[in-house]
Symmetry: C2
Subunit: 419 residues, 2 copies
């Protein structure tokens, strides 16, 4: 069984918008053992949509359309699919009543063009949409002698997602051979993809029935394992088996064996030991605290911290001696150390972590940091072990990348010191 997803909407053919609904639908379809073989984006043109629908119906068992079900002249999905299948649209009186009631409830008369939202592909089931006026449609049909399932869903994710989960998925599941899908996700920070692959490929290649995907990005490598089996236990056993062997091979490089984020893991390990954390950031400007506090429940472990963009604040908020700043510059090992120790002392946290560096695009134009390269960063962790740990980093890339990698190094240093 293969599926094709067609997103209708000219805005997704601009340089500004991507179709993200397809990621959600792909995951849901994969859960049912259905692969997505093609994804397309088509603008609001009847010719183009009809052509795309025809091509999709000729090559995929299940064709899902998102968008183009609204009340405007640009909303042409219903019409295009009917044309591609050479079937009629039927105006449903019960939907007309519902549409008129929606408008009446707001005290307005329904504009005439809204009536097209009551048009349903002949033979299709109507999928009620609690979050909008455009209903979904589900049609089991034939194209010549080929069995086809056609699904029409509204484009807004908060309408599409519940419609897919509540209405489409059960209908598809009932028609598909029973298959149970289980996933595992291993995550590793700050390690080259080539190194992960060289060490892990000999393992996962022994599991041809487990789909393995390596994704690199945002200073981490993710290894996704998916197994589909007639029984859930069997599928779970296969992904657990390969994940377990890869984890043993990569040892402590794997920070998360169940998909948790690095910040969640750091908070978890600190919390288990009853430790608290405070941050003081220069070059990362709040990003480290932001990542930590994006995790619900972080307040049990994270106390807070400071963003010290000036030398004066490094002194007044984290007790870094002015003489140290004058002698070594803010971007230096002694200042990173003093920041981590200072914020730990000031906040009373068990652990203090600091970042200071040159995120670019320009370096320091005067003072003791002048001449240090963009990408030079120091991080320090105080309170784990007998002495404060400091690391010098030389990072590449733009400001955003340098800031992100700095926070990743800081979190990973805490994690490794906790092992």
């Amino acid at each position: 069984m293969i599926a094709e997803i067609i997103a209708a909407g000219s805005e997704m053919l601009t340089p500004h918008r991507l179709d993200t609904n397809s990621l959600f639908m792909t995951e849901q379809l994969n859960d049912l053992g259905v692969s997505v073989a093609f994804k397309s984006v088509v603008g609001d043109s009847l010719d183009h949509l009809t052509s795309a629908a025809r091509v999709a119906l000729s090559r995929a068992d299940i064709v899902l359309f998102s968008g183009g079900l609204g009340p405007t002249r640009d909303d042409l999905t219903r019409e295009a699919v009917a044309a591609a299948l050479t079937i009629e649209l039927e105006r449903r009186e019960d939907l007309m009543v519902m549409l008129r009631e929606r408008y009446a409830a707001r005290g307005i008369v329904m504009p005439p063009n809204n009536a097209q939202q009551a048009d349903v592909l002949s033979g299709a089931e109507v999928l009620p949409n609690p979050n909008g006026s455009a209903v979904g449609q589900y049609l089991v049909t034939f194209l010549g002698h080929l069995p086809r399932i056609v699904v029409l869903l509204p484009g807004p994710p908060k309408e599409l997602k519940p419609l897919f989960t509540d209405e489409v998925k059960p209908r598809l599941a009932a028609r598909l051979p029973s298959s149970h899908l289980r996933r595992r996700l291993l995550r590793m920070a700050l390690i080259p993809e080539s190194q992960v692959d060289a060490r892990c490929a000999p393992i996962y290649e022994q599991y041809p029935d487990v789909e393995t995907t390596i994704l690199a990005g945002s200073a981490e490598i993710q290894l996704h394992f998916v197994s589909a089996k007639p029984s859930a236990d069997e599928a779970q056993a296969r992904v657990d088996d390969v994940a377990g062997r890869v984890e043993a091979e990569m040892d402590d490089a794997v920070f998360s064996a169940q998909g948790e984020s690095l910040e969640e893991i750091v908070l978890l390990h600190l919390g288990m030991r009853g430790l608290t954390l405070a941050t003081v950031e220069s070059c990362t400007g709040g990003l480290l605290a932001e990542r930590i506090t994006a995790t619900p429940g972080c307040s049990r472990t994270f106390l807070g911290g400071a963003v010290t963009y000036t030398d004066a604040l490094k002194t007044s908020m984290a007790d870094v001696p002015a003489s140290l700043l004058a002698e070594h510059g803010a971007v230096s090992e002694p200042v990173a150390r003093a920041l981590a120790e200072g914020i730990r002392h000031r906040t009373g946290a068990s652990v203090g972590v600091s970042t200071t560096g040159l995120a670019g695009p320009a370096g320091a134009s005067s003072g003791p940091d002048q001449g240090k390269p963009v990408g030079r960063v120091y991080i320090a962790v105080a309170g784990l072990g007998a002495q404060t740990e400091v690391r010098e980093l030389t990072l590449t890339g733009d400001r955003e990348r340098i800031r992100l990698w700095t926070t990743q190094h800081a979190l990973e240093l805490i994690r490794r010191l906790l092992l």
Copy 2:
């Protein structure tokens, strides 16, 4: 002239990856006056790729492929396009020499399957790739009597982008009627899309030659205007004209008339008045400082601040009286006010801004904040005007959304107080 973009790669048919190259290529093609009518993603299957190539060549003047040009068995774009065009691939000896030299430079013998990277569509120009081993290809041909331009580019963005800019764009420009494209972007914060559209549509509908796109998201509305004309001055005049009239209609709701971010605008206005800024964040946990410091050059205006996740830190880092916290709770107007005034005083900044609220998912389980709803947020700005300005917000959505909207409200409040 219409274009179609096909991204080859099974990883983009998983729930984890989107094709983002197409956004860049769309923008570049739009610059040349070419619209993108279809975008597709196809997996690494020769049948599927050939089918997609055939369909695309039948309906688009320019067909651009990204990905599938590497050395592995999964890299099938060359073969599929040759099959769709029913032309031959020619193994180019000069490319074989280059490939062997790349390997020799690393001291390894070239694996035999790499030779496919020397296969070129019969009649195509080779586009040299300084950043990788896969060259691009550019073919001007006919499908029956239909003129077609076919472009093959490697998938990694750092290879694709320069190849497009340096090799593809000039070739396309030379074949296309001269057209100059100019863009304007107006940005507005915290205003409903429907309200923007109701007030602006009567204006921009008078400019049928200007393409107008309204995008809503991340607590802001963007209005994009694009005009393509034979002369650059004429195109500029048209987008300036419509943008000027929309800006006059929306008045001070428009924070940015040249595309700048809200944080850039706030820093700019503060800087022009010689003012400095400090932040103190509770519920946003560093996100406000992070947004501000993502802007290069922010250190001229932004001094730093504090992330005070606990009551104790609100007192020790921003001088909020413990009695105030005990009486009103951290999520309260008096505490927001005291935080903004406290951080201003502590840092010596001209302006202090604070955030405190319940970002969820859970509310306070004890103490004076118990019973306040998730989404209740207070922001305050001290130092602009005679008294500290405080706003109570009731935000909806998840933790991420509440935090983002809080920072947007805080920045927008500063901007409006500076007007």
